[in-house]
Structures are given as structure tokens and as C-alpha cells.
Homo-oligomer: 458 residues x 2
């Protein structure tokens, strides 16, 4: 089933659009009304306009047709609305309401019914039981959550089983000053699942990494195979290590399944797994922005020893290697850092210094190093070594990550300047170390595109 109608609509209908603030039919219309295409509020019992758009009674009345319908109606009404969609040749629907497979036998029957109707008419269903999706680069905000316009365009696609987690990730990305290529909350996955959405965003021009939140799925193998087949790097956050099965089933109608088997499966198929939304977003940002590392050797440069120790500790715990630097690099560093405390790996300059960028460059150019992780507390008089880092990752074809802390009042512009030249930044030593560790994991696993030997019992 093609997802063009869902993610690239020309015309959108908001079914159940409402003038009452706080209602989903109002909030969804508010989010989507600035979309650069036709947006039609649909409500047979309303008249006048909503956000400047005239109400219509049904999608069948829309001249030129509708590609995507956002359903802000109670669950039991959904089947009849989908029949109308079939009549009007609407290609896709987002179903916000709950009361389907996540809520017992009656809901399961209702979900079966909407799948039957949708499949008969060739309608792609996002949901039910989702808060929607965003494609910020297309100005498409198909969510009923207020303020989603804070999420700006970026190059990571978040594909989450839970709409709530999708939104939590989107707002966290925005808070970090990053955009997203897309945010998708799958919900109950009535007839659009992980596979189709991953496949779509693999072909999506703006998407350079796909990050997944997974509670459980009936066909893990199919998900894993999709992850391996796509060219875009994929990361996975599988929740449910502890026993939360009953609660999870009541959520999106999925069993959390055997956590360890999922983790092993992802690793076998070349997909690194992470332990939090923050790691998912931080590492996704690095995978999408920086070159893919060729190996697991991390060169650490720090301007302060204490955070450097935290980073080295955390990297080693995660299985990254901190190799000795080459004789050539050590000779370069000896010149730059004469008399300074420690020039092994981590290279510790003791304090920020004018030559800090040259130190980072020397380590990045070392043949023993696959990933560069820098830590530097912001020092206003020096700023960050933006000039030295500009183009460095591309030149050496290695990821160069930058971890820091500093006063927001003095640091914000310098941090934005690093991001603007494609250097992923992190505001704690552990976050930088975790992102680097996950890149290392990606290299170690061969990436999900690599042709590793895979043996999974059927």
C-alpha cells in the first residue's frame, strides 16, 4: 500500500472539525490549517468557516477530491466515515480515537471492521489510537497536539509505536534546537505498520536516519528484515525489558514480547539499540548528520579532565575502544601541548586554548581513530573551534561529535554555529559518550545495510 496519500497529500480533510477549543477536531484543524495545500473542515452539523476554511458536510462534496482525512470522530463512527472515504477516493486516513484493539474484544472487532473497509477501498490507515504525524519540511502537521509547529524541519525520522512517545521525542528534539524530517505515531497499526513507514522514509529525501520506538509487534522478523533492507541508518529503542506486558497490551494492542530476543534480533540485523528517548534522538542526530564510522576506535579530546574521565569510563563500559594514537599524531600533539598534563587518549589540554581546534584536527586525522568525541566547557573569551571543525568530518570521513556545557547566555550562538556546520552537539559528557558509543555499535554491527551473515531460526 503506497503511503503517498498519507505523507504527501495535496488535499486534506479534517473530519469532525470543531469550533470548540480543546476538542481534537479543533486542535487538529489548528495544527494543519497552514498546510500549503487544500484543507477542508468537515462537519455536517457546522456551518461558517474554521481558520478561514469553509465547512463542508462530507468529503464527497469536496471538489477536486481529498488525499488524506484526519478523523476526529468517535471510534464507532469510523467505519461509516471510511465508507465515505472509499466513495470519494480518499487514499489515507489518520484515526485519532481509541477504543479499538487496545480495549478488549469489542474494540478488536471494530478494528477488524475498519481494516476490512479500508482494505476494500485501498485506504492507508495511520492508527487508530494515535496522535498523528508531522512532516515539518512539507509544513504538514497532522497532529492534534498544540504547539507541534515548534518542531522544525530536520533530517531524522522518528517512527514510534506510541503517539505519546512520538510527541515526547518531537518536543525533546525541538527543545534541543534540532528539527525532524518526520514524526510518526503508529498507534494500533491497523493496516500501516513499521515496515511500510520505514520503507517510505528510506526513500524520503530529507531523511538521513530513522529512529524507532517499539513496544512489540506480531511479526518481528518482518520488521527486522525491513530494517536490514533499507539504505538509511536505523536505530531502535525497544521498551519492555521489565514485565510491563499487561499495560502495554492495553495500550496499542501489542505484546511487548521477549525483550532479549528483540535486542538480539536487532543486533543480528545490524540495528543498534538504545536505552532512552534521549539516546535515540542524540544518536539519531549523529547518524543522520555525521559520516558513518568505519570502526569502533574513539579518539577523545577534552579541555577538562574530569568530564574526559566520565567520557572515557562510559565509552569503555559500552564496548568502545580508545586506541593509542599514532607516533605521528603524538609528535603533532607534543608540539601543540608541550608540558600539558596528558596527551594519550583521551587527549587532555587542561583548559580551552587557541590551539584546541588544531588538537582536535590532529586526533581526527589519526589513522587509528574512527570516531572523534570532543569535550570542552564553553569559555567565552575563546568560543568553540568552529573554524577548525568546519568541514573536518567530511575531510577525514569520520564522525566528529562535540560535547559541552556552559552558560546559556554566552554559549547559545556558538553552539548553534557548530550545529550549522554539521557538528552534532551534546550538553552533557554522558550524552556525547552515549551518542559516540551508539555510532561505534553501528560500525561494529556493520550497519543494517551490511551483508553480515544472518542466521535466525524460523
Amino acid at each position: 500500500m503506497s503511503l503517498i496519500s498519507l505523507f504527501e497529500p495535496q488535499s486534506i480533510a479534517v473530519v469532525g472539525a470543531s469550533k470548540t477549543e480543546g476538542k481534537i477536531g479543533y486542535e487538529a484543524m489548528k495544527s494543519v490549517h497552514e498546510f500549503d495545500g487544500d484543507v477542508h473542515p468537515v462537519n455536517p452539523s457546522a456551518d461558517g468557516t474554521l481558520f478561514g476554511e469553509p465547512f463542508v458536510g462530507s468529503v464527497t462534496e469536496v471538489e477536486g477530491g481529498v488525499d488524506l482525512g484526519l478523523l476526529c470522530v468517535p471510534g464507532p463512527v469510523v467505519p461509516s466515515v471510511l465508507e465515505e472515504f472509499g466513495a470519494a477516493d480518499v487514499g489515507a486516513a489518520v484515526i485519532y480515537s481509541g477504543g479499538f484493539a487496545e480495549s478488549g474484544a469489542e474494540g478488536e472487532a471494530l478494528q477488524d471492521r475498519i481494516v476490512e473497509v479500508a482494505n476494500r477501498h485501498g485506504i492507508s490507515l495511520l492508527g487508530p489510537n494515535t496522535s498523528g504525524f508531522l512532516v515539518p519540511g512539507s509544513g504538514l502537521y497532522a497532529s492534534f497536539a498544540a504547539g507541534v509547529q515548534d518542531v522544525r524541519p530536520g533530517n531524522v525520522a522518528v517512527v514510534a509505536q506510541s503517539g505519546g512517545v512520538a510527541h515526547a521525542c518531537a518536543f525533546e528534539a525541538a527543545r534541543e534546537g534540532r528539527g525532524l524530517a518526520a514524526m510518526v505515531g503508529l498507534g494500533n497499526r491497523a493496516n500501516v505498520g513499521f515496515e511500510a513507514v520505514i520503507d517510505y522514509f528510506d526513500r524520503h529525501e530529507d531523511t538521513d536516519a530513522i529512529v524507532l520506538h517499539i513496544e512489540g509487534t506480531d511479526d518481528a522478523r518482518s520488521l527486522l528484515e525491513t530494517c536490514r533492507e533499507v539504505d538509511t541508518p536505523v536505530l531502535a529503542y525497544k521498551v519492555g525489558k521489565a514485565d510491563v506486558g499487561e499495560f502495554a497490551k492495553s495500550h496499542t494492542g501489542a505484546l511487548t514480547g521477549e525483550h532479549a530476543l528483540y535486542e538480539a534480533g536487532f543486533h543480528q540485523y545490524g540495528v543498534p539499540t538504545v536505552e532512552s528517548t534521549t539516546q535515540l534522538l542524540d544518536a539519531g542526530h549523529a547518524l543522520a548528520t555525521a559520516p558513518t564510522p568505519a570502526g569502533a576506535n574513539v579518539g577523545v579530546v577534552t579541555a577538562q579532565a574530569g568530564p574526559g574521565i566520565i567520557i572515557a569510563d562510559r565509552l569503555k563500559q559500552a564496548g568502545a575502544r580508545l586506541p593509542s594514537l599514532s607516533a605521528e599524531t603524538r609528535a603533532r600533539l607534543d608540539k601543540l601541548l608541550s608540558g600539558i598534563t596528558y596527551s594519550a587518549n583521551p587527549v587532555d589540554t587542561g583548559r580551552p586554548m587557541p590551539e584546541f581546534g588544531e588538537v582536535v584536527t590532529a586526533v581526527a586525522e589519526d589513522e587509528n581513530v574512527d570516531v572523534v568525541l570532543v569535550y570542552e566547557l564553553h569559555e567565552a573569551a575563546l568560543g568553540f573551534p568552529t573554524d577548525a571543525l568546519d568541514g573536518l568530518a567530511e575531510t577525514v570521513d569520520k564522525p566528529v561529535l562535540f560535547s559541552t556545557a556552559g552558560p546559556e547566555s554566552l554559549m547559545a550562538d556558538d553552539l548553534a554555529a557548530l550545529e550549522a556546520i554539521g557538528v552534532p552537539t551534546y550538553t552533557s559528557p554522558e550524552r556525547g559518550a552515549d551518542a559516540a558509543s551508539i555510532l561505534v555499535g553501528y560500525a561494529d554491527l556493520g550497519g543494517q545495510g551490511a551483508t553480515v551473515e544472518v542466521t535466525v531460526d524460523e
Copy 2:
């Protein structure tokens, strides 16, 4: 040795004060010059004024004397400056420079010398090899890092072995909109170590929790006993789980020591340990702000299932218990949430709702619950249940933590309102869960003030 001169000076001298921006002697003066007491730039080869204060040639020339000297001079000069301090009856010194015990035999000898001088004159030494300290509530910014005034007054004291980590924590707290009661970078701990500083901040009126960053110390037992003896809750972040010993020794002259023994020791002495600066600050904020929990039973209320599953998963992994709610609570919830998806623990309201505050109150009042953790994506039309939460933690005498995500543009004021009524807030599901888990750990360990049976082999 009293630390009154160090942390409560009336008069401060900046020795090696300089007019050259970027030099430590300039930056330290810039940080400290607005202190509400006398501040004297000291430099025998400078004249005129610095930040409006006239230069003097030596601390011995300062009429009325000096309590605290900030030494912005190279290591080899420190002994003679300390002799002058002795002559002028200066009670405390911060030594920013390195080249002491962290850098080989010569440095060790120099450190021995300054300790001898300082002890002979009764001078408390912070450092050497530190970037200083802050007591924001007293307007005292004794650090050479630019922008430290971003760190506002608060109720957590950060005591870090590394000045770099101390500053990373301070800036991270500021970035989260929280203040600090104090930030102390101990550095080489020449004659002021963890024990004296912990003891001081235990008596410090503004400090409600003390959080430690530890690389290693020669006398772990003494540190542990201090942690147990104080009344203020203490948390510890012990780094060095992996082998980073050589690098750490080159840092603050300390061995990282046996990580597992430290962890076991802290737990035996009632001090929960954490795994990152973020956990240290997040849990410290909760310990300082919320009532101390009586047990390990967490009641979770969530407005979105997906983040609720993440929270339940993470809490269980950390050893927290999610008890069944009492029959009375379930009856209250049934009324509030009729027909809603899941009302066990976690209680899932499906969406934010006007009754959300009542739901939280019902769970908080449940006799089976010791810690309440709430998750709610911000919904602009409803805001957060600030009225219901105001005073709730005090009434039930349990911590109530609030975890959320949302658009910064719409959420910032509502988040600040929660913090203003003493509800600790966290901007990811995992961060809220980690803070709650560490509170649970504190309860499980009996708190460091509890009279648990302790057996440590000498």
C-alpha cells in the same frame, strides 16, 4: 579546619588579578567583583583599577584584612603567596593553577610544600587544580569560568572532585532552570577534602541535598562516615567503573580505586549512587525539594500510555515496586475515569483531562504508595494541574514528581509554575523515572541518616 573564611568571606583578594581579558586573573575578578563585600585585585606590577576596584600590591596592604584569597598565579609562586597570607591572617585560599600532585614527583613536592605552609598558618586550601566554587545565594562566584552568574540560587550543593565536572553540573542545572545552593570543585584536595565540605554544607541553611562527584580518594571510609553522619540527604556519582585509572591519576592526583567497593560502601552507608551528571542533578533536585519517601512503592499516573510504559519498565528495572492501588483508590478512580483504558498502576487517563489533578491526588493519597510519578504531555488548552498539586506533596508527605514534554513556546510558564510550588519537573519519561528510582533507592537504603547495621572490614 573551619571553612567560614572560604565560604562566608567578608573580604576577598584576587591575587594575580589582570587587565587582560581571557586570563584567569581577569576572569576570576570579573566573576567575583559584584560580591557584596570587599574585593581587592592584588598585583604588585599593576596600577589603576579593575572593575572599579583599586589594585593593591599585596594582601598585607589591605586595611581590615582579607578572609579569602583567589590565587591566579602559577604553581611555583603559590608557597610565597601563602606565606604572605599567613602574615596577613588570610583564612582561606582557592588555588586555580595546576602542576601539583596531579603531575608527577615535582608537583607532589610542591603540593606538600603548600600544605605545610597552609597548615602552619591555618589556611584552608580549595584546590589546587580547581576552577573554584560558587555560593549563588550569597552572590559569591569564586570561579574563573565566564558566565557563572547564570547559576542562580537553589537548594542543592554540588561537591565535585573535578572542577570541570562541578562547572558542567552547574551549567546543566542552570540550563534546566534550576539554581544551586553551592558548587564546589575540590581539585587536588590539598587540605580541604570531601569531608569538610560535606560537613559545612550539611549546616548550610540553603542546602537541602548534597550531591557528590567522586573519582577516588585515599580514605573512602572517612568519606562514607561523613556521608552517614550528616543530616542532609547525600547522593554519589562515582566514576571509574571501567579502567580509567591512569588518566584519573593524572587529573586530580587520585586513584579511581575499586569501583564496586565504593558502590557497595555507599549503599551500606545509606547513600544512593547514580550513573550520570543528569541523574545526580535530577535526583538531587527531588531529594532537596520533595519530602523523603518512606518506602519503595511508586504510584504512576500518566496521561499517555506510551511514556507510561517506558516509565513502568524503567522503574521496575531499577528495583522500584508498582503496588496495586487500594480498593478505596480504585473506587475513586473508577468514578473519575469511567470507561478509560487502564486504571491499575500505572493509572492511564488516555489523554490529559480536567480531572487529571484529582486522579493524581487519589493516587497520592493511597496508603500503598510512597512516591508519586506523573507523566503528562503538555496540552495548551488544559495546562498542568498546578492547583491540585499545590501543597499535595506536603499534605500526603510523599514526593510527587512530574515528568513531561511539550512545546517550549507554550509550556515554559506552566513548567515554571510547577517548580514554583515545589514540584520537581523532568522533561523526558526516563529522567522522571530515574529520579523516582533514586528516591526509592534512598528509602530502601534507609537514608544516610538511618541507623542501619554496618559492617565494613578495616
